[in-house]
């Protein structure tokens, strides 16, 4: 675990906290974007290029924009006058703690499964500085091609099911929107 | 329908792009401070007062009749008539302007003053680089700044000046003839004066009381 990891982790956590704690909803959305970017950097730090770039492309390029648009379109852009804490903060905290516990348990439980020797992630400090074809042992580093082959081979059925689902959702969204527009007329 | 309109437009702009390098019809720009176009003869910017001879005060054609002051649409002319009268070139006593001021920040270069002037005394200048550091005083032209010789008028409006000169020479001749028929000595002296004026390169100003065939009847 290098210094860079801690820096990125701190950035991510700070972004996440800011997203929860800031008053202005648009600032929250932007802070969330910072958290997304931090996550992407973590992926890259682990040499998972595809996951990292997909994180940026989807979460920063699309999801963040979506969130921001949603905020603006639902009149949520005004700064609330009162505090940022909701009255049901205790429930929220409990739920968050439960989720964190489950995730933590999952991580700790899977730790013994990792091969002990394979910790080459430190070699690639950042994706930007990766020199072409470094002499890193190809332990858990998954190339884009491998992901592609896996998606088009072994996992083709889940992929297609997800695609159908998303298409259906898209069509549904369009129909909902069209319906509203006609009602407005 | 399939983008051919856009392609046609692109071809047109490409033609203009290359055309502007070769055709003066296309590239009409004149790079002003270095290149200058001679102003058209009819060009008009701001009025000036014409004088004959060398001494601008004596030769000023303006008789302070104040017609231009009255007719000026934006009222930018101010004239103060003299109390006394000075003899003009034919010896006829005429008033002259004590003050004649034109505020060229108000003037709109309409040429109405030139059109209504019966004495050919006010004409339009073609000088246009008149910027000044003082926007009030600097743009209020007084008599000394306004008075310009007939030679200058000839230079900037040759055709118009030639017409005016010819007309005035004709009137001079008439006045001379009139003077000759009068036999008394005083008139003869006046005719002498007029003759010396006529011999001068700049013919004298016309007389308002004389009828000028087309100019006068038009007004």
């Amino acid at each position: 675990m290098s210094l860079i990891f801690y820096l990125i982790a701190a950035l991510t956590v700070a972004g996440g906290l800011a997203a929860v704690l800031l008053k202005n909803t648009v600032h929250c959305a932007l802070a969330l974007t910072v958290a997304f970017a931090g996550l992407a950097l973590l992926f890259l730090n682990l040499d998972a290029q595809f996951a990292g770039f997909a994180q940026i492309l989807v979460y920063i390029g699309a999801v963040a924009i979506l969130v921001v648009f949603a905020i603006l379109l639902t009149k949520g852009s005004e700064t609330p006058q009162g505090g940022v804490f909701s009255r049901t903060w205790l429930v929220g905290l409990t739920a968050a703690a439960a989720v964190f516990a489950v995730l933590g348990w999952a991580v700790i439980a899977s730790a013994p499964l990792l091969p002990k020797a394979a910790t080459p992630a430190t070699a690639a400090t950042s994706a930007m500085v990766v020199t072409p074809a470094p002499a890193v042992p190809p332990a858990p580093a998954v190339t884009v091609e491998q992901i592609g082959r896996a998606l088009a081979g072994r996992y083709v059925l889940p992929l297609e099911i997800v695609a159908v689902l998303l298409t259906a959702a898209l069509i549904g969204a369009v129909i909902v929107a069209m319906h509203e527009k006609e009602e407005a007329k | 329908m399939f983008g051919e309109g856009i392609l046609k437009g692109l071809a047109e702009t490409a033609r203009n792009f290359f055309g502007s390098f070769v055709s003066a019809e296309r590239l009409t720009t004149v790079e002003y401070p270095e290149q200058r176009i001679a102003p058209f003869e009819a060009a008009r910017v701001f009025p000036f007062l014409v004088y004959d001879g060398e001494d601008w005060l004596a030769g000023l054609r303006c008789v302070a009749c104040q017609i231009c002051e009255k007719e000026c649409p934006p009222q930018c002319i101010f004239i103060e008539k003299s109390k006394d009268k000075k003899p003009d070139f034919v010896g006829k006593p005429q008033s002259y302007p004590m003050r004649f001021e034109i505020d060229i920040s108000v003037c709109m270069s309409c040429q109405i003053c030139v059109e209504v002037c019966p004495f050919e005394a006010i004409k339009m200048d073609t000088a246009f680089e008149l910027s000044t550091g003082d926007r009030f005083g600097g743009l209020l032209l007084n008599l000394t700044q306004l008075a310009k010789p007939n030679a200058y008028y000839r230079q900037i409006h040759p055709t118009g000046a030639a017409e005016v000169d010819a007309r005035m020479a004709e009137e001079m001749a008439k006045a001379e003839a009139k003077a000759k028929t009068a036999t008394d000595a005083a008139a003869k002296a006046a005719a002498d004066a007029a003759a010396t004026k006529a011999a001068d390169a700049t013919p004298a100003a016309g007389d308002a009381s004389q009828s000028r065939p087309d100019e006068e009847s038009r007004r």
Partner: protein, 414 residues
């Protein structure tokens, strides 16, 4: 697009006779949709389904042609309400005219529609001539036609240029228009002494005569004009983006146009064949053969094309006038410009200015000044229906529609 269909279907009630069966739609149109007041809030048509965004476009907006303001209420980008606000350039033109001699008002008319000073001169001269019963020499009439048509040509070219500029074409058509306008203005300057504020016409003729050299130059220029129109047409007329932007946008129904007193290319683009050059035949226009192009749909594209076609017709008139121009005086020799006192009475002189019917209404009480001096400015009256054309369209279209009206604020606010 269903909107545009219903509009074009309702486009009836015009003297030329249009699609049968469309007439009854006009009579059935509910009262609420007829034009009553220009500042009335939204008609029944568009309805906001969200929060309205009030935008004040102008008076310092890049595309309002000067100091003109539109208070626009937007739902998203759709216009729900639009209120044109005039008067930022009011210069008291009419009252000035009442305090001045007939001659002194002439240079002020230049400044009404400063793109077409010669047309304004003519309209005013026509009114005074009617008032005084003044005749105009033949050659002066020809010169007036030549100058007015040159003015029309350059005005239409520039107005198309501005329109496309507002569509975002980074000024290319405008620069081409200005290139040609430059050459026409050179002609004006050579003849009248000024490029824009010509102050050339007088009641009873024209101020100075045109030299044969000038006429030759004018002939050469006019011979080059059709090439310029061709260039414009190649550059713009079939451009898909332009068609997509202009067609079906800002439809002006002919009955509304007539009711609102819209004139000029705007009216003709709506399909009403009304051109004062044909209707009045003022000056000597009935001697020339030219056609009046008419639009079909009354949208922005029709206005654009009608202007383009009118440029071609202007060239035709110019060619005839420059060929037939007789010799002779350009001014009635008996006329006195100074101390001009027409007999008591009233007169309305109107011409087909490039922007529409430009009229001057004068009442004389026998004095040296008009008792009443009134201008009928086409720009202002054509602008009054702006809201009706813009409702339901987007902001981008508002800019386009106001551009297609072809206004000059000097004339709107006077």
């Amino acid at each position: 697009m269903s909107e545009s269909q219903s509009h074009s279907a309702a486009a009836g009630e015009n003297p030329e006779g249009r699609k049968p069966g469309s007439q009854n739609l006009v009579s059935q149109r509910p009262e609420s949709q007829k034009l009553e007041g220009w500042n009335r809030p939204a008609r029944t048509e568009p309805e906001a389904d969200g929060q309205l965004l009030e935008v004040s476009m102008g008076p310092h907006h890049p595309s309002t042609h000067g100091v003109f303001r539109m208070d626009v209420a937007l739902d998203g980008e759709r216009v729900i309400r639009l209120r044109p606000v005039f008067g930022y350039l009011h210069r008291n033109h009419e009252k000035l005219g009442e305090g001045q001699s007939y001659l002194s008002s002439m240079p002020y008319t230049d400044r009404l529609d400063y793109f077409c000073s010669l047309s304004n001169n003519w309209a005013y001269a026509l009114a005074v001539e009617k008032l005084a019963g003044q005749q105009v020499p033949e050659r002066a009439e020809y010169l007036r036609v030549i100058l007015a048509e040159l003015t029309r040509f350059q005005n239409h070219a520039s107005s198309i240029g501005f329109l496309i500029q507002e569509m975002g074409a980074s000024g290319t058509p405008l620069m081409y228009a200005f290139r040609e306008r430059e050459k026409i203005l050179d002609l004006f300057e050579e003849l009248t002494g000024a490029r824009m504020m010509c102050n050339y016409m007088r009641f009873g003729g024209c101020r100075v005569d045109a030299s044969p050299a000038w006429l030759e130059k004018a002939r050469a220029r006019v011979a080059a004009l059709p090439g310029f129109v061709d260039e414009f047409e190649r550059l713009l007329a079939t451009n898909e983006i332009l068609m997509a932007r202009c067609q079906g946008v800002g439809i002006l129904r002919p009955e509304l146009a007539v009711n609102a007193g819209v004139t000029g290319p705007m009216l003709r683009a709506s399909g009403v064949g009304y051109d004062i050059r044909k209707v009045d035949g003022y000056g000597i226009y009935n001697r020339f053969s030219f056609r009046v192009p008419l639009g079909e749909h009354g949208d922005v594209y029709d206005r654009f094309m009608v202007r383009l076609l009118e440029m071609r017709e202007s060239v035709k008139i110019l060619e005839q006038a420059l060929k037939e121009i007789p010799a002779g005086p350009v001014m009635d020799p008996r006329l006195k410009l100074r101390n001009f006192r027409p007999k008591p009475g009233e007169a309305y002189g109107r011409i087909e200015a490039p922007k529409g019917e430009l009229g001057f209404y004068l009442i004389s009480d026998g004095g040296p000044n008009p008792y009443r001096y009134r201008v009928r400015p086409p720009s202002l009256i054509n602008l009054t229906i702006l809201e009706d054309m813009c409702l339901g369209h987007s902001v981008a279209d508002v800019v386009l529609i106001s551009g297609s009206v072809d206004i000059v604020l000097g004339e709107v606010d006077r």
